[in-house]
Symmetry: C2
Subunit: 302 residues, 2 copies
Amino acid sequence: MNNDVLVVGSVAFDTVENANGKVSRVLGGAASYASICASYFARPSVVAVVGTDFSPKDKAPFLKRGVNLDGLEIREGKTFHWGGCYDKDFNNAVTRFTDLNVFQNFNPVLNERQKNAKAVFLANINPELQLAVLDQVKKPSLVACDTMNYWIASRKKALLEVVKRIDVFFLNEGEARQLTGVYNLIEAGRILLEKGVKYVVIKLGSNGAMLVSKKGIIQLPPYILEHVHDTTGAGDTFGGGFTGYLASLKNWNTLASIKRAMMIGNVMASFTIESFSVDRLAHLTQRDIRKRLNEYTTMLKF
Amino acid sequence: MNNDVLVVGSVAFDTVENANGKVSRVLGGAASYASICASYFARPSVVAVVGTDFSPKDKAPFLKRGVNLDGLEIREGKTFHWGGCYDKDFNNAVTRFTDLNVFQNFNPVLNERQKNAKAVFLANINPELQLAVLDQVKKPSLVACDTMNYWIASRKKALLEVVKRIDVFFLNEGEARQLTGVYNLIEAGRILLEKGVKYVVIKLGSNGAMLVSKKGIIQLPPYILEHVHDTTGAGDTFGGGFTGYLASLKNWNTLASIKRAMMIGNVMASFTIESFSVDRLAHLTQRDIRKRLNEYTTMLKF
């Protein structure tokens, strides 16, 4: 592929509280985590919308990482603002408020370059918007997609239309069960394969991730972190790293590539959860990443 | 070591019901699973007690696998009988009844050969009995120990005495949290290391297992099984395979050995959960085991 990866989703502010403290109105949103993560492997461009309160300071992490923001629309009003908190189980957030603000009228329009994107990551947004994006992209080689319980409950039909048209589908355990009505994750994955997607990647939180595909089933552990600071954005980081890595390959469509993409997703997520927001994720060196990838493969070597 | 491994624990009857069906009064008990599993790597001998209702048919799986039953005491009365059921989440059993029967007066007495055992697996029993066994074993090179929530709640002090005197401690996530009062599993493991055990192995059910030790922290995924039949005994199998494998080594006390023992525990547990009772576990060939070990290492190779 040409190394470009188009990321469509939310750029937002987060207000998060957990056992490690509280932050207010810090940079968040699935497209932020995903694109900043993807920047270590590919050239991401973002399609999202923010309000006039989105400051140069908020843009800085993207620019530092060379993320193309031509598709970041600035609209009169306030930026999407999510508030949530975590109990000692960092895997599950409890939402306190969701102020969609300008995001409720988000209508992704791609420019010419974006329409020619070879790799696309549809971060967690309304599946109807995901379909609208797919209608604009001319000939993608790789489309990956994330979702959440809210869309499964409210837009299941549209989501299943999306599933037909994508290559990689990220969802967590609960979402896989909710969408398919089946408890066993492998069976759930198989049902989704039947609907047309090639690779189902079930994110297992602190237990890593599982791949269900016709080429094989794989379960990989997480990169082990002794101290978890904040898991917000970990799944988006996983998806961004996974897709960005594949976008850098000549042939992404092999089991070996997908397995490596899972490892990269796991390792990149470990950086995100070491801080609030993208504070850690946006300031990595290739050496930081290589070191963890080496530790990871060493852990799994027999 | 000399390849002998002493297994002390319960030999019992299980009545189990789950989504796949129901079985009544089939062979169960932690020492059964553990010793039969260990027999593929070492020469296990069992110390346990059963009632006069324990028939030659019930003994057959042990004898088939060459498990030494010199220490299987037969006492007037009925054999320990456990009844439980599983919801669709096979990781958690709900106990329906626990008829201890002759087991309530279990008082493990070792013969001379057993007293000289180099490797000991203290399966899940009252920690006071585990201490009584440790007092009889002369100079063990390796002592591994399992427990359960019941003993953590009712015999915590004795259990912590056990922890001081063992090398490897198996427990599941909930038990690790219950025993230490700490949610983070790595922190929980570290607390137990401080109490004197060398290797804390936290069993993660369908997510594999995690090792916490001063030599390193490792998390390994399970061997993936598409269809789970019954998870009863999976943890005991894990412990038995782990300890049996280590008993076959000259030097078990290295991180590489422990990691391999974890893999073996995971793979052996996958056989147990393919059937009720020891139906599958007791009828394996070395080739069956090698095949899964190869698939496992292939899955984790990058």
